[in-house]
């Protein structure tokens, strides 16, 4: 390796470290400022809680044995709704791609469903499915499914026309065209739909937990509001922030693995 190349790599590395240092600095100073403002009484500790109160709340929750359960419940619901949403979205997109006539027919309905505010369906869902995990998953599905279908379907439609023509000249069957061309060439869009889907799923699950109000992080937040202990609310929000970051990162890792060669 030449000296210049070494220098270049070193610079790249240093840059990365600098970014991380700045990010840690931002978080730490934010936490300090928050604690300081609350302690000095400049902002209300009742409404805004404080880092030390959040830590105390977490301790309390762990001691009363339901902290990890709430996280586990929320993650479980996210996992189920996300997997369901993505797989159903994929299958429906495939069906629409194979049957263009059907796609044309249901197009306006998809658009309508997509822009409908799904919270409005909350009361209906609760009454139909009962106050349980089914309602939560249905709520999350309503929110993430339509987006998955539309994104993945558009990915399929974006298949390179020249390569499609090549497959036809080779006499490929419809099944071969799907498995060897249309699906692999949509990997990128499919991953993009994962990214959209995970955010949408979290929204749906928390909305569902608000409605069902039994367990999970969404429940913690509603419960905190009801008993006027806003420490719970703040703890819930911070947990959600951390969870959504980690889930997003996991998808990025998956993306880097799958799309190495593109």
């Amino acid at each position: 390796m030449s000296l210049d190349q070494k220098k270049y790599l070193h610079k790249l590395h240093m840059n990365k470290i600098k970014v991380i240092i700045c990010q840690i600095f931002l978080i730490v100073s934010f936490l300090f400022l928050w604690e300081y403002l609350v302690n000095k009484g400049i902002i209300s500790s009742f409404i805004y809680s404080s880092p030390s109160r959040v830590i105390k709340t977490i301790k309390e929750l762990i001691e009363s044995h339901n902290f990890f359960n709430h996280i586990y419940i929320t993650l479980k619901e996210v996992f189920i709704s996300f997997t369901l949403g993505i797989s159903l979205g994929f299958i429906i997109a495939l069906i629409l791609y194979e049957f263009k006539f059907l796609a044309k027919v249901i197009d306006p309905f998809l658009t309508m469903l997509n822009s409908l505010p799904k919270v409005a369906l909350g009361p209906l869902i609760i009454i139909a499915c009962g106050a349980n995990i089914k309602s939560i998953i249905l709520m999350a599905l309503l929110i993430n499914l339509i987006v998955s279908i539309i994104t993945i379907y558009n990915g399929f439609l974006g298949t390179d026309e020249y390569i499609l023509k090549l497959f036809k000249t080779l006499g490929a069957s419809r099944f071969q065209i799907l498995t060897k061309l249309v699906i692999p060439s949509s990997y990128q869009t499919i991953i993009a739909s994962f990214k959209l889907g995970i955010a949408q799923t979290l929204i749906g699950v928390i909305m569902g937990e608000f409605l069902v109000s039994k367990e999970g992080i969404g429940y913690l937040i509603v419960y905190g509001k009801q008993v006027f202990n806003l420490n719970y609310v703040m703890t819930g929000i911070i947990l959600l922030g951390i969870i959504s970051y980690i889930l997003y990162k996991l998808i990025i890792i998956l993306e880097n693995k799958l799309l190495k060669h593109l």
Binding site: K168, T169, A172, K180, P184, H261, L262
Partner: protein, 249 residues
């Protein structure tokens, strides 16, 4: 019958929302085994349409095509159409795989072609790491691997720079001659048409008809570089140039 393919009175109209487009009209020609034919004509006159019909991609036309039922036709497009997520080698055997013709014999032939084009060391690379010329060679290997009787080439070199274009068309010429393949080449490049083929068909603009057929009588049958030095080369060039030019005005 010593004709590999006989095209009789082929016409094709496209129907669109905005009306009917007469693409080609009453085109007839014959091609013998081992012959190389070039088709030249103004942009949008229907050259690709004609190849689509011959390759049976398009069944919606008037007229008749006479050929052996077992005739193996391969079609090579302007774009190399390599799949970016497959290695060069996997791309090269894609056609064999789709047609379920992967066996020792066909694979040996693919390996031979890789050696012939000096691409063996790139087998495990991905398309994005190759130059345009190399990618086009891989597309060519993918096409030749099917051992087609008739090779349809639709401006296969037009995306390349001048130098790669010359090198690769010479490569193609050599292998086509060596294996006595029958070829129909569509090109915009008159020099390419003259140096490459035994016959040049000049099409008129839409609705496109055969304007002229020029037989190219060169003694050299080995290299397009040598063919370009032949005595009547420029004469042929001028004839085709005039035929095309009259069409434009």
């Amino acid at each position: 019958m010593n004709n590999l393919l006989e095209i009789n009175n082929i016409s094709k109209n496209y129907h669109t929302k905005n009306g009917e487009i007469e693409a080609i009209k009453n085109i007839s020609f014959k091609i013998k085994k081992g012959e190389i034919i070039s088709i030249v004509g103004p942009s949008g006159c229907g050259k690709s349409t004609l190849l689509s019909i011959i390759s049976e991609l398009d069944h919606d036309y008037f007229g008749k095509i006479i050929k052996d039922n077992n005739l193996k036709i391969a079609y090579m497009l302007q774009s190399d159409a390599l799949l970016p997520w497959l290695t060069i080698y996997e791309n090269a055997i894609l056609g064999l795989k789709i047609k379920k013709r992967l066996d020792n014999e066909t694979l040996d032939y693919v390996n031979y072609l890789f050696d012939f084009y000096n691409l063996s060391e790139f087998k495990e690379s991905y398309p994005k790491n190759l130059s345009g010329g190399m990618r086009q060679r891989v597309a060519l290997i993918r096409t030749l691997a099917l051992k087609p009787d008739l090779l349809l080439l639709d401006e296969p070199f037009s995306a390349l720079d001048q130098q790669s274009r010359l090198l690769i068309s010479d490569d193609v010429y050599k292998i086509v001659k060596k294996e006595k393949k029958t070829v129909i080449l569509v090109t915009h490049n008159i020099e390419e048409a003259v140096s490459f083929s035994d016959r040049v068909i000049v099409l008129s603009k839409r609705p496109s008809q055969i304007k002229n057929i020029i037989n190219i009588n060169f003694t050299n049958q080995e290299s397009i570089y040598e063919r370009r030095k032949e005595k009547y080369y420029h004469q042929y060039f001028d004839t085709i140039w005039k035929d095309l030019d009259i069409n434009e005005s």
